[in-house]
């Protein structure tokens, strides 16, 4: 059969089945009625389609009964309970993780605080050590009240011997 003829037959077959299924609009259905009236082969095919369709009623229908309903509902309940349990486990895992994470953060914060305080206190001690000579002689420095005089005394080596003695 040539391709255009095959396509034409396919189109008629589609129209025929749609006609039987009540899927044609009123206008298309009337056109198909007219075609049927003038085409005996098409009428025969329609009859065969109807018979085939009716034969499908011979198929046994499934009847699974109450037991199926019961097991299905139970299976769904078990599955949902399992989901809830899983969700609970996930929440617990998340809580556990939160505690661990919180602990780690606290440890890091404590370490950072310790480091900060240590560095601050060390810095102030270093300043005290640096200023030790001044602090030791603060009363004398206050009594002199002239920085140029003190520098002159330092150049003379007066403080050096005292510090060495002090050490």
């Amino acid at each position: 059969m040539s391709e255009p003829n095959k396509q034409h037959d396919t189109k008629i077959d589609e129209e025929l089945v749609a006609y039987l299924d009540g899927e044609l609009d009123v206008e298309a259905a009337s056109r198909f009625d007219a075609r049927l009236a003038s085409d005996a082969a098409l009428r025969e095919k329609l009859k065969q389609h109807q018979q085939t369709w009716d034969l499908l009623d011979e198929l046994p229908r499934a009847d699974v009964g109450d037991r199926f309903t019961q097991t299905t509902v139970e299976m769904v309940a078990v599955s949902v309970a399992g989901q809830v349990e899983d969700a609970g486990r996930q929440v617990a895992r998340r809580a556990q993780f939160s505690w661990l994470f919180g602990g780690a953060v606290a440890l890091v914060a404590a370490a950072a605080g310790y480091g900060l305080i240590t560095s601050i206190t060390t810095a102030s001690n270093q300043q005290l050590v640096k200023d030790l000579r001044v602090l030791e002689n603060l009363d004398e420095y206050r009594a002199v009240e002239d920085i140029e005089f003190l520098r002159a005394l330092e150049r003379e080596g007066l403080f050096t011997s005292e510090v060495v003695d002090g050490l």
């Binding site: 899927e23 198929l59 499934a62 699974v64 199926f68 299905t72």
Partner: protein
């Protein structure tokens, strides 16, 4: 009111199963049980034709209802409930078929093909003729003959045919269920029914087997 909202309202009003499903969405266990009761035979029936194994069909049907329950919170009634349910059923059947193919448990004969190739008429006739001596067929034999004819159809044709025949679905509903266009559905159903007609033609003539009809 938007189109979507009016559509939802329409299905809620017209389809009692949509209203039941909305109760399931609100965690009403009794409504779920009622839905299972209403649809279990229909889902098992379709699955039996698709898998050819009753036990597997029941397992898959239970999987369908489990999916329905799990999806309850996302449910929006934008179609008839049966359309939504059989979309899930169709997807589960396809997934099961793919899994079976991966496990190489299916026959690779033409009966199991998923394309639209012509049904294996000779094989089907051979199987069926073993059932039938030269006489009128009784009811059980006719049922077996029709079952074999349905099984001889490519899978998508079979699904469309079963939804049309046993679920009384319109082309629009079948298209939505099988995720295809309405025109493709029309074409698929036409091929399905034509193939079925060709397979069953010998039986329809005098109710005899193909062998007898050929004599």
């Amino acid at each position: 009111m938007s189109v979507s909202e009016s559509s939802i309202h329409k299905y809620e009003l017209l389809d009692p199963d949509v209203r039941l499903m909305l109760q399931v969405r609100d965690d009403d266990a009794a409504a779920f049980e009622e839905l299972v009761l209403r649809y279990q035979n229909r889902v098992v029936g379709i699955m039996t034709h698709l898998t050819r194994k009753r036990e597997q069909a029941e397992d898959l049907a239970q999987e369908v209802f489990l999916r329905v329950y799990r999806a309850r919170k996302r449910y929006t009634p934008d179609a008839k409930f049966s359309t939504w349910l059989f979309t899930i059923a169709n997807n589960i059947a396809l997934n099961a078929k793919r899994s079976s193919a991966r496990r190489r448990e299916v026959n690779i004969g033409s009966n199991a093909s998923n394309d639209d190739s012509p049904p294996a008429l000779d094989q089907m006739a051979l199987e069926a003729s073993g059932l039938m001596p030269t006489r009128q067929l009784d009811k059980a034999e006719r049922a077996e003959m029709v079952r074999l004819a349905i099984e001889a159809l490519p899978e998508r044709q079979r699904v469309a045919l079963l939804l049309s025949k046993f679920e009384n679905m319109s082309y629009i509903e079948i298209a939505a269920t099988m995720e295809m266009t309405v025109q493709a559905t029309k074409s698929l159903l036409s091929r399905a029914r034509e193939n079925l007609r060709v397979i069953l033609e010998p039986y329809m003539q005098d109710g005899a087997s193909p062998a007898e009809a050929a004599d």
